[in-house]
């Protein structure tokens, strides 16, 4: 401290503390050494050392999504920043609040192709909500506060702050944060337009076949949004479906919940969407995995769309009543109107609607063939669900078949308990995300439902789990294939399994052992329960290698380019409904 001034690094840590940051996920390097030096001298902010910067961002995502706070990442310049890009894109797609601090070469070397220099703000511009390059230490505190505000408010997202080394070492006066954070050009709208809210509620009151279709926006809005949504849905008696990102916003065990919708959603959810007359979309964005063929998406419906991001409205699907605002705020407005008008849903029509839905439900679309000898992945998840029921548990996933099965077979009754890479579909997300969750909730059970292919993408993070004694449970549905790739090759490419077989897999038990964890194997259905029980007892990280049926496909499935009513319910269906050429080009 010179003349009451602080270094950039000291200011940075002060602002992190102000913003309520308890933990930073990071990896040191030349450009950020001043920050690591400042970290060393204090106790308020804890640092978790990951093993690759990509892991740091996913861990921060796990931390953020399970707590509702901003996840903070600290990486060095050049490769540190470029390794973070996938995680940043993931956080952007799934609207996760992240502040990512990247080191940079000193300002006088910027543009010189210096050692470990990369144009970080240039590279991260399209994969962040906003980014900054701080060139003057006097701007640092203001920029940091603004970054937190931008990351957490409105539609949350990742914000990068690029910090040249001379700025971190420079001196500036530090002043505490102003009382209210404001921004001259960025002011997200929280309250929905009253007229639109009234029209939406009036429309819902006249509906004969209404449905709530809700997404990750409800989770992002905070636990109050889930509470209000549950209240409103129960009050109206209307069926509700959640997107992949929205699971947990409404209790999955409730009768009004018809399951996830979309490509691998339930038959009843997709048919209810197809046949509905009024759709209330809350905090979801009509993603292509949800809508299927746009031209045949809920063709008979009037659509209400509540979203805090105006650019989500009318992007993929034209809606009748758009409402820009925060989910919790707008839901409260809607309920107030509903009560004031003493509205009641049309009981007769609703009873008939439920009869249809129960009919679709009767198809039992998640049924699978049970065999005595081979473990079906669905069976493993059913057992995982049964044996963790009622526990304080968080689930993360990697990406692929196991992710879809987890979404189908695990039941989420509370928000913030389910963490998955929905938008970007990042294999390798689940383990570091689970680490982030476990750091935030040391006493909780944290399970990463994984595939044997995905888990290898960030397997180095086992070392992080070991160092911090994070007892995450990695539940691998091991079918020795990139299962979803194999499934598409079977369905779309004549069974030519090009490069989807996972040869030379490691011995996961030895692998766990070498990282000071525990490995368990289940090869028969009768061993699954024991492995799950054993896994939960161990206070270190565990890899449970569940050897599942290699040829099992994930159903139900809407083939790409098809409509909701064209679902394939099982293997027998697939030959009957060949996939169109149009569908073939879709991802």
């Amino acid at each position: 401290m010179a003349n009451g001034k602080l270094t950039g690094s000291e200011i940075l840590l002060k602002v992190l503390t102000e913003e309520g940051t308890e933990v930073v996920f990071g990896y040191p390097g030349g450009a950020v050494l001043p920050i690591y030096d400042a970290l060393f001298k204090q106790k308020a902010v804890r640092h978790v050392l990951v093993r690759q910067e990509g892991g740091a961002v996913h861990a921060a995502e796990g931390y953020a999504r399970s707590t509702g706070k901003v996840g903070v990442v600290l990486v060095t310049s050049g490769p540190g920043a470029t390794n973070a890009v996938t995680g940043l894109t993931d956080a952007l797609m799934d609207s996760i609040p992240i502040v990512c601090l990247t080191g940079q070469v000193p300002t006088h070397l910027i543009g010189n192709d210096a050692f470990q220099e990369a144009d970080t703000t240039g590279i991260t511009r399209p994969c962040t909500k906003h980014n900054y390059l701080v060139k003057d230490v006097n701007d640092l505190a203001r920029v940091l506060r603004e970054a937190f505000y931008v990351a957490r408010s409105g539609r949350p997202g990742p914000v990068v702050i690029d910090l040249p080394k001379d700025v971190l070492q420079g001196l500036a006066a530090y002043a505490p944060a102003p009382k209210k954070q404001e921004h001259k050009s960025y002011n997200p709208q929280m309250r929905g337009d009253t007229d639109a809210v009234n029209r939406a509620v009036d429309l819902l009151a006249t509906a004969k076949r209404p449905i709530f279709y809700t997404g990750g926006g409800v989770i992002n809005s905070g636990p109050r949004a889930s509470k209000l949504l549950t209240e409103f849905v129960r009050k109206t008696g209307v069926p509700i479906t959640n997107t992949l990102m929205g699971l947990g916003a409404y209790p999955a065990s409730d009768r009004q919940f018809v399951g996830m919708l979309g490509m691998h959603g339930t038959y009843e959810a997709n048919l209810a969407m197809y046949n509905c007359d009024v759709m209330v979309c809350v905090g979801a964005r009509f993603d292509d995995r949800v809508t299927g063929k746009i031209a045949e998406f809920a063709p008979k419906s009037k659509k209400i769309h509540i979203d805090i991001d105006p650019s989500s409205i009318n992007k993929n699907v034209l809606v009748d009543i758009p409402i820009v605002g925060d989910c919790a705020t707008v839901l409260a407005q809607m309920m107030k109107r509903w009560d004031e008008k003493k509205y009641k849903t049309d009981a007769k029509a609703l009873a008939k609607w439920w009869k249809d839905i129960d009919g679709w439900r009767g198809r039992n679309c998640l049924a699978y063939e049970k065999t005595g000898k081979i473990i079906k992945p669905q069976y493993a998840l059913e057992r995982l669900q049964a044996l963790t029921e009622g526990k304080d548990v968080y689930f993360t996933t990697e990406v692929g078949q196991h992710q879809m099965w987890a979404a189908q077979f695990l039941k989420f009754n509370k928000p913030n308990r389910w963490l998955t890479s929905g938008g970007l579909g990042t294999m390798g997300y689940g383990l570091p995300a689970a680490i982030g969750v476990q750091v935030a909730h040391p006493k909780s059970l944290v399970v990463d439902v994984a595939g044997e292919a995905s888990i290898l993408m960030n397997i180095q993070e086992l070392s992080t789990a070991a160092q911090y004694r994070l007892p995450v449970k990695i539940f691998i549905l091991n079918n020795q294939y990139m299962g979803m790739v194999r499934q598409w090759q079977e369905l779309l490419h004549g069974g030519r399994y090009s490069e989807s077989y996972m040869a030379s897999l490691p011995d996961f038990v030895k692998l766990a052992d070498s990282f000071q964890g525990v490995g368990l194997i289940a090869e028969k259905p009768s061993e699954v329960d024991d492995v799950i029980r054993e896994m939960m007892k161990i206070d270190r990280f565990v890899i449970a290698d569940i050897r599942v049926d290699q040829s099992e496909n994930c159903f139900p499935m809407i083939p790409s380019g098809a409509a909701h009513y064209e679902m394939l319910l099982g293997p027998a269906d697939k030959a009957a409904k060949p996939i169109s050429e149009e569908g073939m080009v879709l991802v």
Partner: protein, 169 residues
């Protein structure tokens, strides 16, 4: 995606004049596959450090709506105004046109410039640089006429535009 009719829109965007703001706007257009027919930018308020970007773009009504929503989402953007939709506006472009020649062609180029109210801003024994302001169509017409008269170089600003009437952006 039901309406496929392509419309041309002039959009004015008021932004903070900070590093990278133009890259954000351009990146948005290229990243999402939108068209840019022309784009101009300059600071308009030094005290508040505001710049104004005028973009001419085209797309279906749904795409144009998306473009405006996406522009509005950028953190340093203060205001997005669709001049085409919001009523009458004035749109102008400036061009500097270099014509090289001698004899009758040189005289003819001067005569046409006079008709178009283009001024001579540089002249040598063998060349003129004309300055012309007007609508895109007017400049296109002028350029076409200059082609056979020795047109060798041209620099255009792209459109700047402002709404008619007393209301600011």
């Amino acid at each position: 995606m039901s309406d496929k009719s392509i419309e041309r829109h002039v959009i004015a965007v008021l932004v903070d004049n900070e590093a990278g703001v133009l890259a954000r706007v351009i990146g948005l257009f290229s990243g999402r596959g939108y068209n840019i027919e022309s784009l101009t930018v300059a600071e308009v308020d030094a005290q508040k450090s505001l710049s104004r970007i005028t973009i001419v773009t085209s797309g279906t009504p749904q795409i144009v709506e998306q473009i405006k929503a996406q522009l509005n989402r950028l953190v340093p953007v203060h205001r997005v105004s669709d001049l085409t939709e919001e009523g009458a506006h004035v749109a102008r472009e400036l061009a500097l046109v270099k014509v090289r020649g001698s004899g009758e062609k040189r005289v003819e180029s001067l005569r046409i410039a006079d008709i178009f109210r283009a001024g001579v801003v540089d002249s040598t024994a063998r060349s003129f640089v004309f300055e012309i302001t007007g609508s895109t169509e007017k400049i296109d017409a002028f350029v076409r006429l200059m082609e056979p008269l020795g047109l060798v170089d041209i620099s255009r600003t792209g459109i700047v535009a402002i709404a008619r009437g007393e209301k600011p952006i």
